[in-house]
Point group: D2
Chain length 346, copies 4
């Protein structure tokens, strides 16, 4: 059994990693760290885990950290991650980092949107952990930067069309809507129940969200040239789920079935991507709790646009599930191990 | 006191008309019709109205209908409306029709998207009831077609920019999200609590929604030439509220403050339109229960696009409130009478 | 116009007072205080009030406070209230205090459940502001302690039965469920959207909630002897509303209609209490945004128990609305002024 | 692999059975029947099952039914079940019936609360499928009546106390709150999103709910004499989950820890029942999607009452999960097979 540690276990992603890993046949979680909750049972922070884990939160020194496990999920905020990860890599451990700190090859981009990077060389060697695009690079990696929640569904949806060159890369508009768990488990007025319930709004309008450069980097890779997008996030009164509605102008005469076939060919062997049939639409409630990404494609002939919709659970395919998928690749396990949950509906 | 009747009082719009009119100083609701609930107190269908109305649902013949009141709100579905309204107009009554039957000057457009129209001449003379655009036409009208819920916020937001010629009219993409009350109060599996709760989805993707031609008609009027838009509705797990996020490419060098000033100038005397300051964003929960339309404008310089967001309560400014506003204009009352409710938050 | 100040305007109750008072014909809000938000427009803290109030939050000294207005709503937490209120009363102002500090005649009870009281003599003279029970004492009062949200509906429901002596006063069990706005607008993990959404739980089980002695004091008054109750609060995934389900063993042979008649007789002249007919049940969504208290009574013959259900909006009849009702009585206005809102449904 | 059929697969329970059985190592679902959806893929009715099942809904004759599988989950409404089940039993099949038709040994009770029973002899031999109470009777059974959703948590909670004789059996009051999936997946106005959202109410007050006699039958068994209870169901604005708050007067001097120990002793070997520690409270969101029943016990010394709270997921431990647990016992599988899902939070 692989010994696995979760650094920063008290956030929603930490709880979700425990949930998923509890069904994984090849691993055992040996450590869960939390500065704030040191000494408390993890199940006292997450009562749904009562009797499902006996982990006690610890607060190890940097020196102790590497000894806790063979494999590490680092679920602390950006900037905190870059301080911890290099030591683990030096000690020969494998790491999936769920912050933004190891998602950018181009450190200048990172430093423009975030802050100074203290481990730029390591960041430049990290692999972006989107298995459906970069599986073969992930397998041998020691350090994987787990994608952001918004970028995951968006990149999966657009990459095949960009690769095929069928859309105008200057025309891409992404209108994305996320459940509130994406804001994390920190005390804040803005995400109180009464502020979110029965309401809806946009935020960080006009390219202010830090997922913008992450999306653009990988769309550019797929297109083979720089891509700039409009990306508008919105806040949904739901706990889990992201639905992105993506608009682009077509540069092809291919019809809807032919374009959908592009997606089918790209993903028909993928265990987690479900390309929907004509007339079907994804919904966040149909992927809840699962590692699926559901995608639909529709052509609007009146405007010569393609409209793509993609749904994921932001805590699973958008965070903890994808992290486990990356671990499976990095460790040679069945890629779906620990990730076979059927979506929970209703 | 003006005697007012509500035809089709059992839907959400009917209940909302009673709520609003109960605070109106100049009118009294003398009749509420419902074929299905004939003989029942309206408050048994809508328990929140207990002791706030003593109306009994009636089911009058067409001949009796015109005698019930001086002014009529017709809140029955399209096709049913076109059968009732002509008789009322002939009898000299004033009518605000809340269906789609009298929203289209061009009957061919109506018949393409809906069905054959049995009163096309009358429809051609009806006035589209968006007071902020068409106030002076509404005042003398006998028949007003009350706008659809989605078109209201969208047209109010785009009209000033189209009139000023500052956006590329081929570039407009409207990503709209509506609360579930927009689907009405009919038994259906698709809008059961468990199907909607904690979920989100798009529907009628790629120009299939019948509000598309309604939006295009009035945007074209504002632009002075035909405008085609991409319009994608989504279903929110909230009861009331529409938020539309609108994208367009700029054809001007004006900066964000200058464009916002266009909106301010257009709406600063309007009692119900609130143009937000830089950095603020509308939210459906901030207009809940009120007749407000909140609008924000942001320029994304990287892509040369303007991003507009607009929020209304679909049952108020998107239906019953706007209908009362139209009645006020048609009858010479203070335009805000019955409509001064402060939004209910949280 | 009476000049009114709201002390502690940034909480949900403060926002709600502004909403209600904006429709009051006899008053004008001249001051809104908030230490934390000094200098900010109230509408920047509560965007739903945009263009509906131009109040700027101030942070006056104690000396300045009394000059701000003729009438004060004190909406700061308990313990903070007892420091502010005495000065206002000495200066000849009238005050409705919405904290617990002036709800208890018996200071020993207060000090047992809360903490030492710094103004016990003043507290002993304050009037408990439940108008349906204590209207004539409220009229001449200078200081009214506004009831807690849970006690309001519970006392209104039980008082007539206790007064009539038809239930066993040792048998009362109150199972109450509140919306989350009752927890206030402070940053906290426990009331984050994701912690509350799609969930339900009890809290402060077994008489730990501080509303217990408040309930018991007034039930004892109605009964004429000490009453001890079991009171269990629960947290609902809704923003507004309390529904209490109350159980008691009957000591009468009167049937359901006769007992309901007791409630009807007690409340048929009350503008805000709605006693429901046989077979009807209150619901929080039917009182939302209004000052109503809806009550139903059912007898279970198998067990010889009466089951009472009562619904209020905790921010209106349970806080701000009742405070306005008290002000109306204290100032000689129409008791319903500012309180005629029809419930908002859906 | 055991061949399993789901009769009436289109309801929420049917979808949930497919979800749970998809992870079961010993069974394969070979048939899903639905009169209404004959010929359609089950995943078109339940899009969350897309690519997780290739079942096509069938509508077999009674004669064909028994050939479809070795084991049957009958998930049709009561009265429909009693027409199907006898044929299956005669054909030598094993059946878990999820309706009320085979829950009552005493047919007179069934016929009083439901309607005439067409297979009373068979009903009298069926075993009530609450494994924690009746495990040894379930193992050899061919026909198990799966408990109702409300009774499950309530009986599990009260049975040990009744068996120990520590509560007054005339004093039991059960205030239960259920998520809306308990109302099923049929078109209805009463369970539309807008009717339920942001609201709360009681229903079937005063012993009108048909789960009352089911609860009383098994509490009486545990007590050893007839028990009558007050049972009030309420409707929560959540999809899944039941929380029951139960009140009873103590007849013992045992303290809280001693009484809790009764529960611990009774359930510490049970894989699905989690007895919470002092100060902890169950919540529906902490059992969501799992087969757990979480129970807390608190003594209120002031009133000499014990207050018990119990949470289950009504679709899992309250329906499909318990049905699978029964199948596991009837077929000799590991009792937790297919039921190891960790609760989904948030």
């Amino acid at each position: 059994m692989l010994r696995v540690a979760i650094i920063g276990a008290s956030g929603y992603t930490g709880g979700e990693l425990v949930r998923l890993l509890s069904t994984h046949p090849d691993v055992t979680v040996t450590a869960a760290t939390s500065r704030q909750h040191e000494g408390k049972p993890l199940s006292s922070i997450y009562p749904h885990l009562h009797q499902r884990t006996d982990l006690i939160c610890t607060n190890p020194t940097s020196a102790q950290l590497a000894e806790l496990a063979d494999f590490f999920f680092c679920a602390v905020p950006h900037q905190a991650a870059m301080a911890l990860v290099p030591g683990l890599i030096e000690a020969g451990r494998k790491v999936v980092d769920l912050s933004a700190d190891f998602r950018f090859r181009d450190i200048a981009v990172y430093e423009h949107w975030y802050q100074t990077h203290s481990a730029p060389e390591l960041a430049a060697t990290a692999v972006y952990g989107l298995p459906e695009l970069y599986r073969e690079r992930i397998r041998p990696a020691n350090l994987v930067g787990n994608p952001g929640c918004y970028p995951t569904g968006i990149i999966l949806t657009l990459a095949p069309l960009l690769h095929a060159g069928v859309i105008d890369t200057r025309s891409i508009i992404i209108d994305a809507k996320s459940g509130t768990s994406g804001a994390g488990r920190s005390a804040s007025i803005a995400t109180l129940f009464c502020e979110i319930n029965d309401g809806f709004r946009a935020y960080k309008v006009a390219g202010q969200h830090r997922h913008t450069p992450e999306i653009e980097q990988h769309l550019s890779d797929s297109a083979g040239h720089p891509v700039t997008v409009t990306f508008t996030p919105h806040l949904l009164p739901i706990s889990r789920g992201i639905l992105s509605t993506i608009y682009a102008t077509l540069t092809t005469d291919a019809d809807e079935d032919q374009l959908r076939e592009l997606l089918h060919q790209r993903y028909h062997n993928e265990p987690f991507v479900r390309v929907l049939d004509r007339g079907e639409q994804p919904a966040t409630q149909y992927v809840r709790g699962s590692n699926h990404c559901d995608i639909a494609l529709t052509i609007e002939e009146r405007t010569n646009r393609v409209i793509l919709t993609a749904a994921i659970d932001n805590l699973v395919k958008g965070a903890a599930g994808q992290a486990v998928q990356n671990m499976n690749l990095m460790c040679g396990y069945d890629e779906t191990a620990g990730l076979t949950q059927v979506p929970l509906f209703p």
